[in-house]
Amino acid sequence: MSLTSLAAPILANADQFLVDGKHAVIAWLVHFLPVAWQDVITGGLSILLTIAPITIGFATLFALSTWLERKGLGRIQNRMGPNRVGLPFLPWKLYGLGQPMADGIKMLIKEDIVPRNADKVLHFIAPVALLVPAFLAFSVIPYGDGMVPINLDAGLLFFFAIGASTELLVFCAGWASRNKYALLGSMRAIAQMISYELPLIISTFSVIMAVGSLSLVAIVDAQAGGLAHWHVFTPWGIAGFILFFIASLAEANRSPFDIPEGESEIIAGHLIEYSGFKYALFFMAEYLGMFAMGGLAISLFLGGYHAPFAFLEGWVPGLVWFVGKLLVMIAMFIWVRGTMPRLRMDQLMNFAWKFMLPMSLLVVVAAGLWRFVGGGWVGWLICGGLIVAPYLALSRGLFKARHWAKREYRYAD
């Protein structure tokens, strides 16, 4: 048997290597059990073997992305990032890849300070409970062909519902600290998250309209076939992707929208009174939220786990494409962070309500028109014009309409 004929069945199923691997492991493990328990254990093992790689994988990606971020920001700022920490007790420096490990150990061994007047139960629960929506959001994203943990019919709605429940926990965190500034910071954080939720959700309406379903698996399937079918290469797709990207930066409290955790503004806002591992948990929840939004953006606009060209489909696993696109999204997040200064709170709110909300509504109208006009250069002209012309008019108008109000002093009576 030649090498190619040996390799052919593997390559044909390379896409499914994880799924096949999981079934193989379950079949092997169940072997050792008495027959009466086999069904129950199979179900439980299947769930465990689905959840564990996702949890471990994204936690590892979190550690890796902190390293990527520090190196990336360093290079953007004409300096090297951390490059000293390698593996413990070994002489190789490994370009600083051991830095996340060192940071994790540092966070773990820090003293956990809880203020005396703080609400102890809430103070403890807030960071822990904040991780729950972050991890739940990963359960509806398709990572490959047949590799979605739960195939929900209303998957997209589940995702946004989970994102919305983050806000209450952010408030919990700020309130539990019994600190004026923490409360102020968490109020601002909630205001920011609510304001940007609208453009976030409305910019996905265009995708839902184009596909006709709320299920992420159906949305990704509708983008099969190569670059031309991806949603990002339509006029409403480009605008929708940009709006979604900006709104997800704001939802994740990420620069340039990181007023809630800005060091020089409000000294970490709702995170003031948290130290050590709880702070690390907040940090982790923020990054995991970022990854989830990135994964959603990929599934909605960038073709999910499909390859850019049809001939690459199948023998290069879909997971590879998904992770590659996710790394590109992370690089974009880091790039934007390194470029733009922080927005002030009122600038942020104005941007959300006066600019992004009208633009996202226009994107929805453009997506509907695209369906009627049918695509092609006429569609590009009409839908593109429908988005670009109001964009120019709105930006010019908002810029000119800025008026500097005379400062008013209101005294407490």
């Binding site: 019919d153 709605l157 589940f158 994102g163 429940s165 209450l168 409360l183 709320l214």
Partner: protein
């Protein structure tokens, strides 16, 4: 009565009871949010995916925060603990028993109640959309009108606040 349904029921009722009895108002709101989540999970158990997720999105994501803002804006200066039972507690108990009794009789004695705990098939979102656009379009438009009125009212109030010197 299956075990998961029992757990969900206990969670929802416990959240509601805690919302009524806890001293700290913010704790009350948070346990109310827990009971909202319990209701959402009951919806999911019945197979109504869309309604369950919408419940979380609207109630936990917006209404709970609204209640929190309302508490913080109207009770500045900390939350004072109130006594648990006021002097007319027995009237409240009587009314509660009457309402609960009538509802229970109506529900248990209704013809549509079957003993199947789980729905056989879940209502797809597409079906909900079609129904909303054909059979229930009038309530949809009326709700839209209502929301517009609420938004206009909020804008007008904020406008006057800003105009007031």
């Amino acid at each position: 009565m299956s075990f998961p349904l029992f757990i969900l029921g206990v969670l929802t009722v416990a959240g509601a009871v805690a919302a009524m009895t806890l001293r700290n108002l913010i704790h009350c709101v948070l346990s109310l949010a827990v009971s909202f989540v319990g209701v959402a999970m009951l919806f999911l158990r019945l197979g109504a995916e869309f309604v369950g997720f919408a419940q979380i999105l609207v109630y936990v994501g917006a209404v709970a925060i609204l209640i929190v803002f309302a508490i913080l804006l109207t009770r500045s200066g900390g939350v004072e603990p109130k006594p648990f039972l006021n002097s007319q507690w027995w009237i409240g108990l009587a009314i509660a028993i009457a309402v609960f009794g009538s509802l229970a009789v109506a529900i248990v004695g209704s013809k549509d109640l079957t003993s199947v705990a789980l729905a056989e098939k879940t209502a797809p979102v597409k079906q909900i959309g079609i129904e909303l656009m054909t059979r229930y379009v009038l309530p949809l438009e009326v709700i839209g009108l209502l929301l517009t009125a609420a938004m206009l009212g909020a804008v007008i109030i904020a406008w006057q606040e800003g105009d007031r010197k």
